[in-house]
Structures are given as structure tokens and as C-alpha cells.
Amino acid sequence: MDPDPFLDVAAIAQLGRNLGINGMMTMRWGWPIAEVFHFFGLCLLFGTVGLFDLRMLGVARGVSLRALHRLIPFGLGGLAMSVTTGLLFVMTTPDQYLHNPALLTKFALMLVAGFNMVLFYLIAARGTWLTGPDDLPPVPARIFGAISLACWVGVMTCGRVITVFRPPAFYWCPWC
């Protein structure tokens, strides 16, 4: 019996079947195509947000941070692609994902990255846009950049080891 009082694995699996997600994902190429788009999204995200973070830390000086920031919408599009396809995976086999320690850590890191991004725009963005192309941004912006980069590298790492930490061999439910 599932001890989780909030996330009903059987109900989520049933919802996935009712919505036709399960049928689509279990077709011959359903899962592989979703994986391809999941990784396209990650590439766009890391290629834009990750490299923006690296620039804030001093890599590729000479590139204006304000101009580089114009690539961020591609990263957000990539994030949307990854989140959508990620939901398809979870809805298809919730028993493999919902209490998986690697996936929960991945979600936690995504939350930290999102919160960090909001704080960056509230606290440090204005000073960052005033930074010259050859200069380092102010220290708070560099700290936000380092946290963001660490979070996204962590997200990627956790994603790679999800299959190692599958329930029931590994079962995490911090809220149970």
C-alpha cells in the first residue's frame, strides 16, 4: 500500500491513461521522441541560461551581458519543452518517478534555480545591465550566477541518475 497521503500514484497513473498520455508514450516511438525533445529543451536551457551564468562569472569577457540576455527566451522555451515532456514521463510511470530521490532532488534544485532567478531580477539585474562588456558584474550578480549554474548542473546530474534510484529499491517521501 502506498504510504503517501498526498501523491496517489495509482490515481496519477489512471489520469495519464484517461488523458491518453499513457497510450501515446507506450507507442513504439512515443517515449524516445519525448526524450529527444526533453534533451533539446535542456540543451537550449543550458546553452543560454548556463552560458549567461558563465559570462557573469567572467567567461567570454567582451560579450555584453545585456545583449547575451536576449538569448534567455530560448532557454525559457527550452525549459517549457523539458517540463512538458518531463510531465509526460511522470504521468506515464508515476511509480518510477514520484518518490525517486534523484527526481525529488532535481525538483528541489529547479525550485532553488527559479527562486534564485526571481531574486536576481529583483536585486541584481539593474546593476548587471550597467556592466560594461569587458567587466565583471557586481558581486551579488556573480553569486546569483554561481548558484544558478550549480543548480542547473545538479539538475542535469540528477536527471542522469534517475534510473539508478528507482522505487521501490529507493523510496523517498519527505512529506509522509
Binding site: W31, V36, G50, A60, S64
Partner: protein, 162 residues
Amino acid sequence: MNGIFASIEHWPLSVWAREGNYIYFVALIFHAWGMALLIGGGIVICLRVLGVGGAAALAKFRGFFPVMWVGAALAIPSGLMLLVAYPAKSFTNPVFAIKFACLIIAALLMRRLAHGAFPAAARGEPLPHNSRARAGLALALWLGGVAAGKLLLHTYKVLLVG
């Protein structure tokens, strides 16, 4: 050929890569980090050559090439480790050849951009006429390499060892 692959799979390095404690997953993680840096750098450079973020000096984007080199330095040895663990699984799969071709051609196109578009941009000259086409093709090939890499797991036909 399967005999050769089978003998490689008995090499101590191959056995270690497959059966060592989490060695295979450590190689997978390093491969992911490397590919993210390599392809992430490639995407940003290609997008800029295609005209996105036009306010930033194109020549300065040369600074992202070292990021790509670091990515390659992580991705290639870890990729070789994954390959030596299961050579038959990869070398008998045509999708592996597609992945390899996509990445090699994309890397060669980036080299052409580095030696053509970037020096021209640094001198304030217009880009060579086919630079944008090369950047667009390179972008498609980087993503094609990612797609083929993900499809490897779903398309292999030969697996000599578990």
C-alpha cells in the same frame, strides 16, 4: 565483427566500466556535463551568427569556444569509456554513426566559422556570404547529434553482455 567486440568486452577496462561501482553512471554524468558545455556553447555561437542578440559584438563570442573545448575534453573520454563498456551495442547501431557524423560535421562547421566569420567580424568586415547558412546547419546538426544520442538506447539490436 562481433568476435572483436566480444574480445573488447573482456578487457579489464571494459569489465570495470560495466561492473565497477557506479562507474558507468559516473561516465554518463561526465558525458552529460561535457555535451552540455559543447553543445550549449555551439548553440549560443550559432544563434549569434544567425543574428540573435545582435547588439553584442560577434567577435567577442569567440570567448565561448574555450567552453566548447572544455566540454569536448569531458565528453570525449567519458564517451570512449561508455563505448568500451558496450562496443557491440554502439558499433552495430547505425544511429551511432548518425550521432558521430552529426557531431563531427557540426564541429567542422564551427571551425570554419572560427576561421572565417569571427576574424571578419573582428576586422569590422561583413561576414562571409555563407556564414549564416553554416551556423544554421551547425545548429541543426548539434541538435541532431543530441537526438541520435538519445535514440541509441531505443535502437540497438546487439547486446553481447548484460
